[in-house]
């Protein structure tokens, strides 16, 4: 491949990747998956594990939704984390305990599924300690990667 073609390929690749970023709504990270809820939930759990996290729990928060007239009862919160990392961080910063483990909310919207998380990168507003900032950035990076995996699953 000639140098100009190579350059064009890279430019196009970068353009594609930049277009594939997780949409942000303010300080939240959010994606829409074309998969139905059960498949998207499975994809999300696999993506969380693939990025090195342990899934600690899936919490239903939709009990009573259908009783209250909603057409969906597909709303869950998925908790996850890395035990060693959480242990180390909360030993130094117990004020973070209430925000951990990490979590993503997933809910059905018709035949599609939405996944949303508070952007961990924005936690720096809440917890300005310098030693936490790199961790928040890494969590943000991981959130984006996990959400991209879910968004692209078909």
């Amino acid at each position: 491949m000639s140098p100009p073609s190579r350059r064009a390929s890279w430019i196009l690749l970068i353009t594609l990747l930049s277009g594939a970023l997780v949409a942000h709504a303010g300080d939240l990270l959010m994606i829409r998956s074309a998969e139905r809820f059960p498949e998207a939930m499975m994809t999300l759990q696999n993506a969380i594990r693939a990025h090195g996290y342990t899934l600690s729990r899936v919490q239903r928060v939709d009990l009573g939704l259908t009783r209250s007239g909603y057409k969906t009862d597909k709303y869950r919160v998925v908790f996850f984390g890395k035990a060693g990392e959480i242990h180390r961080i909360t030993a130094r910063h117990p004020e973070l305990i209430s925000y951990l483990p990490l979590k993503l909310a997933i809910f059905a919207e018709g035949d599609q599924t939405l996944v949303v998380g508070a952007n961990p990168g924005r936690f720096s507003r809440f917890f300005p300690a310098p030693d936490l900032q790199g961790i928040f950035k890494r969590w943000e990076h991981d959130y984006r990667a996990i959400l991209e995996d879910v968004r692209h699953a078909e």
Binding site: M1, S5, R6, A8, S9, W10, L12, L13, T15, L16, G19, A20, L21, A23, H24, A25, G26, D27, L28, M30, I31, R32, T54, S56, R57, Q59, V61, L63, G64, L65, S68, Y70, Y75, R76, V77, G81, K82, A83, I86, H87, P94, E95, L96, I97, S98, Y99, K103, A105, F107, E109, Q112, L114, V116, G117, A118, N119, R122, R125, F126, F127
Partner: protein, 351 residues
């Protein structure tokens, strides 16, 4: 070079990535819409967490300038964020893409101000508009159509006092909406209902008067600690019991008690000095979901009890602080109440 993707592969990927795109539509706009808007407004513009955009009654009554400015300023406090990071060209591409959902050409409105009597307009507003748009112009409740309202009722009465709306809508556009209404929505034609040109001008003047009390600049985040933490004079077990009693006393149902690291570490290896009490008030939960479907990030309600070096503490998130991430004033109000409730529970359990 073998490690480089071939140009052909890239072009195929590009084609796949932008599809499905309607023939004759703005490809850049489609990509930008998919990237920035579809997650809330739906891939086809039929709404979700955000309001539906692909409604003829809506598109036929708003100008491209209004749409561009809405992208630029968002709706402070009404979920729709500002996309100030997009260039003018990118915003224009998105508008072209959205506009293609309507077969009717975009209306144009002049920027000529409407002169009217705002005080008289206020009296008319109280009788004719406040029922839907709110007495103070704060708009209909909820966000889009995910949980806020039936999909058969996709319209949400806009917050007329919202700085983003007032920056986007010209006087002439507001006047045209009052004159013509929006077919198929509760917004009727005031002209057809017998309102005079003067009445309508006075209403426009009143709506415009909201602008003096609003700003498109986002509010600064509340300062202070993001976690509520209280020292407990009791031991861990007694404090857990107290938290459960205090939460029940505030009409929450205890749904689960578990160790903080349960599920993260092998069973039996949990730190038994960190306990989470989960609780829920289902009516409150359902109310919160109608206000913002993303509210699951607060759920379930929880207090954590921690014993360290012989000292016991109870702690929770501060919902008021977390709410600042959501750009939703209605949610802010509920979270303000939740912060008080959490404080009460933490205080009562450590008295």
């Amino acid at each position: 070079m073998k490690t480089l993707p071939s140009l052909v592969t890239m072009l195929v990927l590009a084609a796949v990535y932008v599809l499905p795109v309607r023939a004759g539509t703005d490809v850049t706009g489609a990509r930008l819409y998919a990237q920035n808007c579809a997650v809330c407004h739906g891939a086809d513009g039929h709404g979700g967490v955000g309001v539906p955009l692909a409604l003829p009654a809506f598109l036929d009554s708003v100008s491209n300038d209004y749409l561009r400015k809405t992208i630029r300023y968002g709706r402070p406090g009404r979920v729709m964020p500002s996309f100030a990071q997009l260039s003018d060209a990118q915003a224009a591409s998105i508008v072209r893409y959205i506009r293609a959902w309507s077969k009717t050409p975009a209306p144009h409105f002049s920027n000529a101000p409407v002169r009217g009597d705002a005080e008289r307009g206020a009296r008319l507003y109280a009788v004719q508009c406040a029922a839907c748009h709110g007495a103070d112009g704060s708009g209909g409740r909820g966000t889009g159509v995910t949980f806020s309202r039936p999909r058969s009722l996709p319209i949400i009465a806009p917050a007329l006092r919202n700085a983003g709306l007032l920056a986007a809508a010209s006087d002439q556009m507001i006047k045209a909406t009052l004159n013509n209404g929006r077919a198929g929505t509760p917004m009727v034609s005031f002209r057809q209902r017998g309102f005079s040109a003067r009445d309508i001008d006075d209403l426009v003047a009143y709506v415009r008067s909201f602008a003096s009390a609003t700003s498109t600049t986002p509010k600064a985040s509340a300062a202070g600690p993001a976690a509520l933490i209280f020292d407990s004079p009791y031991n861990l077990e007694e404090t857990v019991k107290n938290v459960k009693q205090a939460a029940a006393g505030k009409n929450f149902r205890i749904i689960r008690v578990q160790y903080f690291d349960q599920g993260l570490v092998p069973k039996g290896a949990e730190n038994t000095k960190r306990v989470i009490v989960y609780f829920c008030n289902f009516p409150l939960l359902n109310t919160a979901l109608t206000i913002d479907p993303r509210v699951g990030l607060f759920l379930p309600c929880r207090v954590t009890i921690v014993e360290h070096a012989g000292k016991v503490q109870v702690m929770s998130i501060d919902p008021k602080r977390l709410s600042t991430l959501f750009n939703n004033e209605e949610l802010d109000r509920i979270c303000d109440k939740m912060t008080h409730l959490y404080r009460d529970i933490l205080e009562e359990s450590t008295l």
